[in-house]
């Protein structure tokens, strides 16, 4: 049982962590928490299944197509739901506009793809039992993503520009950084990361239109616990959440595990509203 808990816990944990990174990537350049993060994960699964099982495309084509489609949806989100409300960030209209876009995505998927979960193909056909690819693929993807992002942020000029915008929007603009284009790029990047989460975890979560809200919630927990904008915190939080959830699942059963996760989450947040690794909020007066 321990092996099952570990394998499935780390796998779903990695998916949650990737959704957490999706939130963070969008938040970094726009200060907006977007409800679309989970829907991007859902689309990763649905589009992957669509391309590979319905259209019989090989993995090398299906993966880039899925990533590109989700990146496009990320950019569309920026245009439709984020940019128009940025100037009044303190009114929190983004909560509503991104919720609306997330629901539109979900309902269109339900109408076009159907409301039943559909299978997701095996990708590499490697491993079996606890070493099956459905368990280690998300973990590997999460590792590759986090190292890729670290490389991007620390070693490349574009990545440093991202960090500059994330740190201080006004100063970055004053330096002449193309703040708007960087924001669009970060939404595209977030779309691709979200798609990766759904794609790599497709064999666990299946291609199902209702995965969105689920991923939204469980992907948000690592962000809230790890501190907004903190990718490492999100990975640690995501894996911990996955293990905790699966352990509860195997020992006390599904419904109580949801209640436990929810209660834990609220309790921790009430004690440390800024998250376990986050910094306290800024001055208000």
């Amino acid at each position: 049982m321990l092996a099952s808990i570990l394998a499935s816990g780390l796998a779903v944990g990695a998916v949650y962590a990737l959704i957490g990174i999706t939130y963070n990537t969008m938040f970094a350049t726009s200060r907006v928490m977007s409800f679309t993060a989970g829907q991007l994960g859902m689309l990763g699964g649905v589009l992957g299944s669509l391309f590979m099982l319905e259209l019989d495309l090989p993995l090398v084509l299906a993966l880039p197509l899925t990533l590109a489609a989700c990146a496009l949806i990320g950019v569309a989100t920026e245009f439709v739901a984020v940019r128009p409300v940025l100037k009044s960030l303190d009114q929190h209209l983004y909560v509503l506009s991104t919720l609306a876009v997330a629901l539109i995505i979900q309902q269109l998927t339900a109408l076009g793809w159907g409301t039943e979960p559909r299978p997701f193909p095996r990708l590499l056909d490697l491993g079996s039992g606890m070493g099956d690819e459905k368990y280690w693929l998300p973990v590997a993807t999460c590792a590759v993503t986090i190292f890729g992002l670290e490389y991007l942020y620390r070693r490349t000029l574009v990545g440093r520009a991202f960090i500059a915008v994330a740190e201080d929007n006004f100063a970055a603009c004053a330096l002449g950084l193309p703040e708007r284009n960087l924001r669009i790029a970060s939404y595209a990047l977030a779309g691709a990361v979200g798609a990766l989460a759904g794609f790599s975890g497709g064999q666990l979560l299946l291609a199902f239109f209702a995965n969105g809200p689920l991923l939204n919630f469980y992907g948000f927990i690592p962000v809230a616990l790890g501190g907004l904008g903190n990718n490492r915190g999100a990975v640690i939080g995501g894996l911990a959440l996955g293990l905790f959830q699966q352990a509860a699942n195997f020992t006390v059963g599904g419904i109580f595990s949801s209640v436990m996760v929810f209660t834990m989450f609220i309790a921790i947040l009430l004690v440390a509203p800024q998250g376990l690794f986050g910094s306290p909020s800024t001055r208000r007066v």
Binding site: L108, A224, I255, I266, L269, L270
Partner: protein
């Protein structure tokens, strides 16, 4: 102008103080009620069902409106409380666990359970940021449905449970309709009472100007908890009625779509309005009936509607109906303070002791913003606090008003110690303040903005206000009278009924002063009140400040206009790099060598 006429009648009788707009504001509600009462004439029981559903939804939305529309807390998953109420009522009425209760008793129990869980669901809002709170309410909605599914012994699981059976005469379609309509009318009346009271204004203040709300002594936790109790109870009652209407409930009846309907009804209606969300609720209940072929698309349509509202008409229906705010304001108006009004406004205030700061030290990280400041302000004194940018003037003000917690030193008012870090406790000490950037509720009228300043003077409790008991009316009369006096004192009484966001910057500064005067402050802290004012306005501001101080109020004035400072101050303290550089009369400071070189210039 109407406002001016009202005002002239002021000192005389109470009758003149009754809001003139009330009857006209009531007309749409009465119209809707008349339509609702005539509906049975159609004899169509299908319509009875739809209208009953609209009434039930409104019972929930009316309460939720205070949370979302007034307090601005984005509680999205409110279907959770509807579910809870529906199951509590059904389980108690069917007698699954205990001997069966009569339907009304079950409904009452549901209200109590709803009130408790309303607080539980709402608690995170007291600590967490907007998006976090939205997420936790969503999580709660999911959990409740899952529990309803899993707890088969009690809830019947996926098979469901029968709803409560109402006794005669409410057991027919139209009888039940009248019953629900009656509760809906009661809810409208009760939320209306709250909305037009100091509680309603305080809720909007929390939403749009939280920092200013704290400075006027509004306690966000206490206020929100009262509202959560009320809204939770209403939502659970709505749930019980919903179960009665459905006659049979399963967890599937409580979809996220319903949550969305409640939430969007409020946003379509417009924030801070009651008529708007009422119309929104009716509209959204009717929409799927009218567009029956589109049933599969209804969530999609709600989502599109939400997006359109947020992007295109954030004010909702209420903004469309707000004709008064489209009339132009007089163009060549001037701020003409009439300090004579202060006499009436400020009387019967106990004489305070001195305000003393003793060796206050406050560091942000490694930077010592204030480094051992001593300061003493006497009652009736105008005390200027000047110094270069970054010398710690505003920081000192924020320490006095409790926003910052100094690492060292103590503060006293007379013999009482002032505890730092609790800004909402300052108002009770009679310490009021204004802000460098005016913190005003743009969507409220000038009069309402000023009335917020007197929130802690109200005597009626939340419950008394809900039921419009006599003390509530007395509070309102008293607050409005004081607010009109305060506006007269600062010279803005002709703008009393204008929306605050239509005023000029300089006028907003005077509105803030009027709001601060509502406390009849022992000490008034002004943070750069002259910034952005014309030289004529600065002169008037100066004499207004002096008039205020003559009423016994100590004024602590942070300002950069040296002329104003030297004209009106009795005492001036100069800060530099977080320390007191000099302190004395204006004449002494003007010739103080170090002050001249550090700040004033030769």
């Amino acid at each position: 102008m109407d406002a001016a006429k009202d005002h002239l009648a002021l000192p005389g009788g109470r009758a003149a103080l009754r809001p003139q707009a009330l009857p006209t504001a009531l007309l749409p509600f009465l119209g809707l009620l008349a339509l609702a009462l005539l509906l049975p004439l159609t004899g169509n029981e299908y319509w009875a069902m739809i209208a009953t559903r609209a009434a039930i939804y409104w019972v929930l939305v009316a309460g939720l409106n205070l949370i979302v529309g007034f307090a601005g807390q984005l509680a999205i998953g409110y279907v959770a409380l509807l579910t809870l109420g529906a199951y509590t009522t059904s389980v108690l009425a069917t007698g699954n666990v205990l001997p069966p209760l009569p339907a009304f008793a079950a409904l009452g129990c549901a209200a109590v359970v709803g009130a408790v869980f309303g607080v539980v669901v709402g608690l995170p809002a007291l600590r967490l940021r907007t998006f976090y709170f939205a997420m936790t309410t969503l999580g709660f909605a999911t959990i409740v449905t899952q529990i309803a599914l899993a707890w088969q012994d009690v809830t019947g699981g996926g098979i469901g449970i029968t709803g409560p059976q109402m006794p005669a005469p409410f057991d027919t379609a139209w009888g039940f309709y009248y019953f629900c309509l009656g509760i809906a009318v009661l809810c409208t009346w009760a939320t209306g009472n709250i909305a037009r009271s100091r509680f309603g204004r305080a809720l909007i203040a929390i939403r749009d100007a939280e920092v200013a709300a704290e400075a006027t002594g509004i306690s966000k936790p206490a206020l929100l908890v009262s509202v959560f109790i009320f809204a939770g109870a209403m939502a659970a009652v709505a749930g019980g009625l919903f179960a009665g209407l459905q006659t049979y409930i399963t967890p599937e009846a409580f979809t996220f779509e319903l949550s969305l309907l409640f939430f969007i009804a409020i946003l379509i209606g417009g924030r801070g309005s009651i008529l708007g969300p009422l119309l929104g609720t009716i509209l959204l209940t009717l929409l799927p009936e009218i567009a029956a072929p589109l049933a599969a698309w209804s969530t999609f349509l709600y989502a599109v509607l939400l997006l359109v509202i947020v992007l295109a008409m954030p004010g909702g229906i209420a903004a469309l109906l707000d004709f008064a705010s489209r009339r132009p304001l007089p163009a060549n108006r001037a701020i003409l303070p009439r300090p004579a009004a202060l006499e009436t406004l400020m009387r019967r205030r106990p004489a305070p002791g001195r305000l003393r700061l003793d060796n206050i030290m406050l560091a942000f990280g490694g930077v010592r913003a204030i480094d051992g400041v001593d300061l003493e302000v006497a009652p009736g004194e105008v005390h200027g606090l000047i110094g270069p940018n970054g010398s710690g003037k505003t920081t000192t003000l924020n320490v006095v008003s409790g926003y910052y917690q100094p690492q060292q030193g103590r503060m006293t008012l007379g013999d009482d110690p002032l505890v730092s870090g609790r800004p909402q406790a300052r108002a009770a000490f009679g310490i009021a303040r204004t802000f460098q950037t005016p913190r005003i509720i743009g969507e409220a009228t000038v009069l309402q903005n000023v009335m917020i300043g007197g929130t802690i003077d109200g005597r009626a409790t939340f419950l008394e206000t809900l039921l419009a008991l006599p003390r509530h009316h007395r509070d309102e009369r008293h607050l409005e009278q004081a607010a009109r006096l305060a506006l007269e004192a600062v010279g803005l009484e002709m703008l009393a009924s204008a929306r605050a966001d239509r005023l000029q910057h300089s006028e907003l500064r005077f509105v803030e002063i009027a709001r601060a005067l509502m406390l009849r402050p022992a000490y008034l802290l002004l943070d750069e009140p002259a910034a952005g004012l014309s030289s004529e306005e600065i002169k008037r501001l100066g004499s207004l400040i002096q008039a205020i101080s003559r009423q016994g109020t100590g004024v602590l004035l942070v300002e950069h206009h040296a002329d104003l400072i030297f004209d009106i101050c009795d005492h001036v303290t100069v800060l530099n790099l977080g320390r007191v550089l000099a302190s004395g009369t204006p004449a002494e400071i003007r010739v103080h060598k170090e002050v001249v070189s550090a700040y004033l210039g030769a």
